[in-house]
Symmetry: C2
């Protein structure tokens, strides 16, 4: 059982038959064709030679097939992690050097190790701390930054790397160096790809094609663009006009090599690796869960960490760079009908065949086409409307999202991400540290108690009932103490104080200490402290304490019983009263 949970292949492997095999091979063929341009493009984005993109699309697919629990997830280089790879390595090594390649391998290795450790320790929940506003803000910022970075290959304008800001200013400064041939290829490819993405699917469906097949063909746009632009560049000899081409891509499979162990390099790459691991994992798990739900399958979040970790280690030792589950590639895999993770492994074989035999055909492939491919892919990530929508629902979340976008664009993707996580944690803690509290009174004719500011309720000056709408935790425990002391000081007639815990899901040790302090302080002031509506699980813990022994008869099952114990007449009269409007 345990072995099966760590090796899901043992689950589906034995049931594998000829029919599934043929199905998976067909799927793999489709996926492999789509993956080739994607792999080349994302390698370019990460500042790596094209073959590294191909390498990163083989071993990871095979390892994910062994360890993954999703039937449809396809792992390989994706936009966000490729940009994060560039951001992590650019300050350490120069593009094109062996050091740059080695750093990419180390980064993938660290990412993989972190994911596997998180998986074995069942710490997948840690990824939850990258909140929706941060992830959405990151997506928008990364989309903008990647789009701007691709203006260099698409228009031939040289620019410096770094943050969006430094990139953008150098693009503006160097605008005069634009190359007309590169621009022609880049812009035409871009318009073509955009048109394919926007209209082809509708056209094909109107022409009578099934939705699944139409979707898959639409995803093939980049392949067509690549073929056409290779022919154009080769035919007109445009490489002699300054059009940057991919050039010689070494053929043959990658060797297996352990990345160098260099402590200073490892420690420099540790933080980016953690962030790439978490961002990659969140992207993967959300795609995997969405696809699984369509067939009522289940993915195991912790095992997915192990699988994605294995995939990254595979990428590392086969000369690649960090990988994650891709959205568009997984959709293609799913729509094409992948029945088992083996489809992914077969796609890896397809890419291996390309690497072995077809790399000479890529010689004339212009960087402009790859740039256009990336540009179209990332534009859909940019979503400023989300800030507005989120702000209207939850202002703090909207602010967190806006700050993540601004900080990622100005400070870079790693710093922006850390700041975003910090901001949303602080806002979360701030919110829970100052919970909503309401003074409640009895609704006439009922045993219900409601906020005195929202409802017509019955109260008496000698009793103050406070409801706290949050669990009692250390971030808010002393806030409650202060509120109680304030209430007591401003209500000189009060003789009884009741804390209504109906909205309290837990009370930690700090909360308990605050309750003790409140009890002592109220007693000093001649006020009796009562607690009502404590939930079962809290009561279980409370019963073990000295505090419970002291309070015992003043812990009431319901708020009504609390009032009744102090002043039965008042409680009964309120109950008998006709409900006022």
């Amino acid at each position: 059982m345990l072995l099966k949970s760590y090796l899901p292949i043992l689950e589906w492997g034995p049931k594998y038959n000829r029919k599934t095999l043929i199905n998976d091979i067909v799927v793999a063929l489709i996926v492999a064709i789509m993956l080739v341009p994607q792999s080349l493009a994302y390698a370019q984005l990460a500042g790596l030679p094209p073959e590294v993109g191909l390498y990163a699309s083989m071993a990871p697919l095979i390892l994910y097939a062994v360890f993954g629990t999703s039937r449809a997830l396809s792992v390989g280089p994706v936009a966000v992690t490729s940009l994060m790879t560039l951001a992590a390595i650019a300050p350490i090594a120069a593009q094109g050097t062996p050091e740059y390649l080695a750093a990419a391998m180390v980064l993938a290795l660290l990412t993989g190790l972190i994911l596997i450790i998180l998986g074995f320790l069942k710490l997948g929940f840690l990824s939850n701390f990258m909140s929706f506003p941060v992830m959405a803000g990151l997506g928008t910022a990364v989309g903008i930054q990647i789009a701007s970075s691709q203006l260099t290959p698409m228009l031939g304008i040289p620019s410096e790397g770094g943050t969006f800001l430094s990139q953008f200013t150098s693009l503006v400064k160097n605008a005069s160096q634009i190359n007309i041939y590169i621009t022609a290829i880049g812009v035409t490819s871009f318009i073509f790809l955009l048109a394919v993405r926007k209209y082809l699917m509708g056209l094909l469906i109107r022409a009578g094609m099934g939705k699944g097949l139409a979707g898959i063909l639409t995803k093939m746009g980049p392949v067509i663009a690549i073929i056409i632009t290779i022919l154009v560049v080769a035919g007109f000899g445009l490489d002699k006009q300054g059009v940057k081409i991919v050039g010689t891509v070494p053929s043959g499979l990658p060797g297996i090599a352990i990345p160098p162990f260099d402590l200073s390099l490892w420690s420099q790459l540790a933080t980016p690796a953690i962030l790439i691991a978490i961002v990659g994992y969140i992207a993967s798990i959300s795609v995997a869960q969405t696809l699984a739900s369509k067939k009522r399958q289940h993915v195991d979040p912790n095992q997915e960490l192990v699988a994605l970790g294995a995939a990254n280690i595979g990428a590392s030792i086969s000369g690649g760079f960090p990988v994650a589950g891709g959205f568009s590639r997984s959709i293609v895999n799913f729509e094409a009908g992948a029945e088992t993770p083996a489809a992914g492994a077969f796609a890896a074989v397809g890419i291996a065949l390309v690497t072995l035999f077809l790399t000479p055909l890529l010689y004339f492939l212009p960087s402009a086409t790859l740039g256009a491919t990336i540009m179209v892919a990332v534009l859909s990530m940019v979503n400023f409307k989300a800030v507005k929508i989120t702000y209207s629902y939850s202002p703090t979340d909207g602010i967190a999202m806006a700050l993540t976008i601004v900080l990622t664009l100005t400070l870079g993707v790693i710093a922006g991400l850390i700041a975003g996580i910090g901001i949303s944690l602080m806002m979360y803690l701030y919110r829970t540290s100052r919970p909503h509290m309401a003074i409640v009174g009895q609704v006439p004719g009922t045993q219900h108690f409601r906020n005195i500011n929202r409802h017509k309720v019955i109260t008496t000056p000698k009793i103050v009932s406070l409801r706290i709408d949050e669990s009692l935790y250390f971030p808010n425990a002393r806030f409650l103490e202060a509120r109680v002391s304030e209430l007591v000081a401003s209500n000189p007639e009060v003789k009884h104080f009741i804390l209504d815990c109906s909205a309290v899901n837990s009370i930690d040790a700090s909360g308990l200490e605050s309750l003790k302090a409140i009890n002592i302080r109220l007693k000093e002031g001649g006020i009796t402290f009562h607690i009502s509506e404590i939930k079962g699980p809290i009561m279980d813990g409370l019963k073990k304490t000295q505090f419970f022994q002291e309070l015992k008869n003043r812990i009431h099952f319901t708020q009504y019983e609390a009032i009744y114990s102090i002043d039965p007449d008042l409680a009964k009269q309120a109950m008998e009263q006709i409900k006022m409007q």
Copy 2:
């Protein structure tokens, strides 16, 4: 009004009359006598010359009288912050050098600035993040470490500073260098002070004295010990037998000087200053609130930050070191009957008189007596039983407390405190990230829904109702997604899924996204998603969203209505059924 809130003296000042004046002067005299030995002892603990302790007990008292909202809080050097001062400065400068003194002044200035900024920004709630387990663990560890450090002045054994561990090992190594005269004075003083603390109060009360006066006299033990040991050392010339004495204490008031602005020094002291600010503030505010409640007075937590900040800046520019509200001194102030903060200001005048005229009398004061004073004061801070009690109530809190103790003793007080805060934050986030969830069913004969594992309830395979006992936040949002996907995968017959939100106090943007994802995924799987029992404040926000428009008719006021909308017969039959046992 605003001015009054920042200058509470404007509140009580105009009402000041002759009766209050005389009362406050009498209180001040008592407090001043008690403060002299305490000030000298805590200066010794912080590695500073004795006069610095006196300086730190003048300006802060006067400034607190102007800005403070507590009538009884007495500020000055206290044990924890003195040890933290030592820990912060020892790595930077050598004891006895002008650099050490300057660093203490900078530390007090930074502590004061941080407190004032927190106060103006109303960020007092930040101190809540130092949870009860961390504060209690810190108290025990600091008590042990201070007690061990005082073995050097009390027995004459030389030792190195640093963490408890390094201190303790060097004490053991140097044990043979014990000085018999120092030990005699130290141990006798210790036993005397312990006896006074334990028995004097009872004896005095039995002799017919009032409880308040007996308590005050008991606190005078150190003054008696000091007078006797000064006479003994002077009379027998014990200073020539190696007994370390205080020696010449410069008389005269401190000058006013701005501490040096040295960026590297400031940045080295920033972290300790933050921690001293928070620890000092928590100690002060809890004493202030406890004393205020006895007279049904109110202290303003944010104004207390400003007042404590002003006190620290006062300490800094008058040549002192970080101060906080002390527990025992405030109790004396309160018991003696301080009616306004002016009592504190008068006590400062008393200490000024001592500093002006009585310092020659302190020449023969042995360090051993001060060591014994500190030792007795801190022993009550050590409380290992708290770990056990806390663990039995809340295991995670007990672990946090134990780890804070161990880490403070091994890594030092600053590192231990940071680790403690980190641990309790992580444990808190861990807990809330994996909230309790229960599948609920209808209790026969009622409209109530309860956990199917705890109660006999009515369910149907086509409906799954899940109650989540925590607010929906980003740390747990995706956890809910995973749980729902698991439930759906393991219940093939389910057609309706109801999320019971009766225990949900808020839903942030990430929670909303998860609800959207759950809705989409359930729809893909042919299951209808319902929500029930959403609280009013959440509904207000939800109504602004697209999600609400989509779900609208599937958001039910109560869980019963949710079931009724799906299967009225089932709901009604369950209601009519007699409650089973």
